[in-house]
Amino acid sequence: MHVYEVFRQEAEGESMRHVGNVDAPDDELALQYAREVYSRRGEATRLWVVPRAAIVEIVDPDFLRPPLDHGYRMGEAYRVTVMKRRQITGKEASRDA
């Protein structure tokens, strides 16, 4: 028996979301069990079963969330751009002052 992780798409166009896992001897039964356990009420438009052994994981915060300032990647850093537009056009100048 192998553990298969189960992913479910709940409506066309949506992403596949992890919903849990099943224990099965092969791919075909894994799909049968996944349907029985995770889509009894027609919750899925698509199911994936993936052998757990095939999943490669990383949970290292130093790697995933390095303690560096990446502000230039976020919208917050571009507030100044709005100010520049106001300076050029003169609109709302009094409020900015």
Binding site: M1, G20, D23, P25
Partner: protein
């Protein structure tokens, strides 16, 4: 860092809201408590299918028969989800079943009683499932994330069961005097087990499962929540709750009730309830009768491997 420091750090982290995943390091005590807690929950889902199973053939209409069957399938499905969690914590399924049928591990008190009438089916699906939703909703905040996520799915399905049960009860309460009596008698049979359902009111500071964040709400608080939500709903449809001491105390903001006999709860969950041995006997029989299925499934795996 010593082991003790590591354990203390883990405990502080879960108390501050850190969520633990299946593959993460965890202290042995946490793993052991989690295994015991979830295994008991899983056993209860599986054994909980049996009292209602008796009513598939006796359900009054085809619609009810289908609904009861679907509920039973859901309960067994919940057991499947929960047994997977227990397996991931390190206990093999074979061992889980052996421990259940030999009486070594426990299941919930309410599944140790017989179902005497169709009234019981309605009261169980409505009120036992309502009591269960209160504890299971609180478990959505468990520090063990796979359990918390499983609770979201289970609560979603339990909500249908509750409606199914309420519909059975209301239908009878709109019926003849005999049908109303059927419901009243069922409520009288189930009130004491319901009041025991959330367990003795242990002081929260001594409850280790709370300390580790395995559960998030104390037993007595769950019972109070249940009473706040359901006492009025039960009374306003013409049913009488069989507890003369039951009343809401405005001063303390709490429900007063007749204290259940907690030693009786212990006697029941250790396999001495009115239906305990019959249920375990049935589970043992069905485990033996389905041995060939397990052999075919796992044997097939060996052939293709």
């Amino acid at each position: 860092m010593t082991d003790e420091q590591r354990i203390e750090e883990f405990k502080r982290a879960v108390q501050a809201g850190h969520k633990v995943e299946a593959g993460d390091w965890m202290p042995e005590e946490y793993r052991a408590r989690l295994t015991k807690f979830i295994e008991m929950h899983a056993n209860s889902e599986l054994m909980g299918a049996l009292p209602e199973r008796d009513w598939i053939l006796r359900a009054p209409t085809l619609q009810r028969k289908l609904a009861v069957t679907a509920k039973i399938q859901d309960e067994v499905g919940h057991a499947q989800l929960l047994y997977r969690l227990v397996e991931d914590l390190g206990k093999p399924r074979e061992q889980i079943f052996q421990d259940l049928i030999s009486g070594k591990t426990k299941f919930h008190n309410v599944f140790h009683y017989p179902t005497k009438s169709w009234g019981d089916v309605g009261i169980i699906a409505w009120l036992v499932d309502a009591a269960a939703i209160h504890s299971q909703s609180a478990l959505q905040r468990s520090s063990y994330a796979p359990y918390a996520r499983t609770m979201r799915r289970i609560c979603w399905e339990e909500a249908f069961h509750l409606k199914h049960g309420e519909d059975i009860v209301l239908t009878c309460m709109m019926g003849t005097a005999r049908q109303k009596r059927l419901m009243q008698e069922a409520l009288e049979r189930w009130w004491e087990p319901l009041m025991m359902f959330h367990g003795p009111p242990a002081p929260p500071e001594t409850d280790k499962d709370l300390e580790w964040g395995i559960k998030s709400r104390p037993n007595e608080q769950l019972r109070q929540d249940f009473l706040t939500k359901y006492v009025r709903r039960i009374q306003e449809i013409g049913l009488t709750i069989p507890d003369p001491k039951l009343r809401y105390d405005e001063r303390t903001g709490r429900w007063a009730y007749t204290e259940p006999d907690w030693s009786k709860l212990y006697t029941i969950v250790t396999g001495n309830g009115p239906a305990s041995q019959a249920r375990l006997g049935f589970r043992r029989l069905s485990y033996e009768e389905t041995a060939w299925v397990r052999q075919v499934v796992t044997g097939g795996a060996q052939l293709t491997a």
